[in-house]
């Protein structure tokens, strides 16, 4: 009864069902860098820079022209915030801060700025932790990725995440492949950074 032809059709059906799960591609490419603001051995906040690829089409209502270089004015920045940033709150601005394996919530972004650098859009902002986390007593890691993989985040250089602020001299940031949190149905393993002192 279960001959090869029948198996062939069943495999076809199985492939089809799987297709519904694996349906996404990156369409926005961002190179990120982050400065982990520390006080002693505690993480206070994370200052970030997102550099979009040139192909990123921001055709927002109210934005007619962008400068070739330099910061956007307050009106245009507000438009960007409203139409191309605030909606990321539900995704926690793609920040994944884990403390002993537990995902942490971050406060609302502060100091949101938009600029154009050699034709590329650049976002800068800071996400504060709701409560400082002591990395000497907890295992802390930070990653920036989009679970849906609509946005592809790539670290901007080998040391995209650095320690900043008044950190203890023993504190360090070490990048690693976060195999505990694969995305895009296991196709992509995002890069994260272990922060320790």
């Amino acid at each position: 009864m279960l001959n090869l032809s029948v198996i062939r059709r069943l495999i076809g059906v199985a492939l089809f069902v799987v297709s519904g799960i694996a349906a996404a591609h990156p369409h926005v490419w961002i190179r990120f860098s982050a400065r982990v603001q520390m006080q002693g051995t505690s993480v206070i906040s994370i200052a970030q820079t997102w550099r979009f690829s040139e192909g990123f089409p921001v055709q927002l209502v109210g934005i007619d022209t962008l400068p070739d270089n330099g910061p956007l004015d307050a009106r245009q920045t507000a438009i960007f915030r409203e139409q191309a940033f605030s909606s990321l709150a539900g995704a926690h601005y793609f920040n994944h801060l884990f403390v002993d394996g537990e995902a942490q919530h971050l406060a609302e972004p502060a100091g949101f700025r938009v600029s154009v650098d050699h034709g590329k859009l650049v976002y800068t902002f800071t996400l504060a932790l709701k409560k400082p986390v002591d990395v000497s007593t907890h295992k802390v890691s930070l990653g920036i990725w989009d679970d849906s993989f609509f946005v592809d985040y790539e670290p901007d250089g080998a040391n995209a995440v650095t320690i900043d602020g008044h950190a203890a001299s023993s504190c360090a940031a070490k990048p690693f492949q976060d195999r505990a949190h694969p995305i895009f149905n296991g196709i992509v393993v995002p890069q994260a950074t272990a922060i320790s002192c």
Binding site: N3, G12, V13, W29, E54, F150
Partner: protein
């Protein structure tokens, strides 16, 4: 058997009615009314604070996935993603150059880059490839049908993007900012149409218009039975006193060939349309950029070039499915003549699963459990 087939048709009809009703009744509960440039649902000003509150749990997907693809597969896909990013940026540059100075070389550069982008973009897992692969791999199809399905699906996808973007530019008050939202809505339409395409396949199978009639199958027919229908020859081979005739089973194949061809073509059209109606976001972005640069024809050309690239990759994927089908069929040769009924039942079951899949996905999106996917 006839009663069972009618029952299946009734179930199918009930599903289609249920999905259509859901589509009409539940748009206000849809998961996403508007989508931003990150493919995320646009939230009101009060939403961010709400979603970032301590009571809001982190995304379940943060801890859900545990399976990781083998390193070589991930490396290959990651490489294609990196090149997509580079090509994406180069396409934008080429479009700008073309807008400034229209030369054959800049046109060729843009078309070539867009084509390569389409080829790479379709390498990743996605809706269209697996629909095409499933349809082609689950039946005996020709190479031309694989190419036709891939090309038709890519053409529909390109046209869908063009209609969406230019429709938004010319008619929508919100302008192109609403394009991604409309594209996300087409995700639901795609699933509903997959129900229809699957239903059409079921109908074709039930009506014996195609599937499971293998005109190449050989059948041994006892001589006495064959004698009633046609005069026999004394020189035919015999074994232990019984004459057997090698008989090319017609199964009505010759008379139904025209109908079968029509049915297969209509299934290709329906399946390709259903899988291609949701546009590629890469094409949408290129079109938006070209409209912003007041050079829409550049975007249209790039969109069709992307479509051609997608068609090439999907065709190769489909051809591998056709090849796999033929490889397996060649090894089940002896069983082929007696499994028609089984294959028909399995084919109907498979098509019914397609219908169910489309219906469930559409229902999940409309009820807010799943976000529409933009690919």
């Amino acid at each position: 058997m006839l009663t069972v087939e009618r029952a299946v048709l009734h179930i199918l009809f009930a599903f289609c009615v249920a999905v259509a009703s859901l589509a009409l009744a539940a748009p206000s509960h849809a998961a996403s009314a508007a989508v931003d440039v990150f493919g995320r649902p646009v939230q009101s000003a009060s939403s961010p604070a709400q979603s970032a509150s301590p009571t809001h749990a982190p995304s379940a997907s943060e801890t859900r996935h545990t399976v990781v693809l083998p390193e070589f597969a991930r490396t290959a896909l990651a490489t294609s993603i990196i090149w997509q990013g580079r090509l994406n940026a180069r396409i934008a540059d080429a479009a700008q150059q073309l807008h400034r100075a229209s030369t054959p070389w800049t046109w060729l550069t843009l078309i070539g880059l867009a084509f390569l982008y389409g080829v790479l973009h379709a390498l990743g897992p996605g809706h269209g490839k697996l629909v095409a692969g499933t349809w082609l791999g689950s039946r005996d199809t020709r190479i031309a049908q694989a190419v036709a399905l891939a090309s038709w699906s890519a053409t529909v996808q390109a046209m869908s993007a063009i209609v969406l973007v230019f429709g938004a530019v010319w008619f929508a008050k919100a302008g192109v900012s609403s394009v991604l939202s409309n594209a996300a809505s087409l995700d639901i339409v795609s699933y509903v149409l997959l129900c229809v395409a699957g239903g059409w396949t079921i109908y074709g199978t039930l009506a014996r218009r195609d599937c499971c009639v293998d005109t190449r199958a050989l059948k041994l027919v006892p001589a006495e039975r064959q004698a009633a229908a046609s005069p026999t020859s004394e020189h035919e081979p015999a074994y232990l006193g019984t004459k057997l005739q090698l008989h090319m089973r017609q199964s009505g194949g010759a008379t139904r060939f025209g109908t079968s061809k029509f049915s297969a073509t209509s299934q290709i059209l329906a399946t390709g349309f259903a899988s291609g109606v949701r546009p590629c976001v890469g094409s949408i972005f290129v079109l938006i950029a070209s409209v912003a640069a007041h050079a829409p024809w550049i975007g249209i050309a790039a969109t069709f070039a992307i479509g051609a690239g997608v068609a090439v990759t999907v065709s190769l994927f489909g051809l591998s499915a056709v090849g796999a089908n033929r490889f397996i069929m060649a090894r089940s040769f002896r069983l082929r003549a007696r499994i028609e009924t089984t294959r028909r039942v399995v084919a109907i079951t498979g098509a019914l699963v397609i219908v169910l899949f489309g219906a469930v996905q559409a229902a999940l999106i409309l009820s807010g459990y799943v976000q529409p996917a933009l690919t």
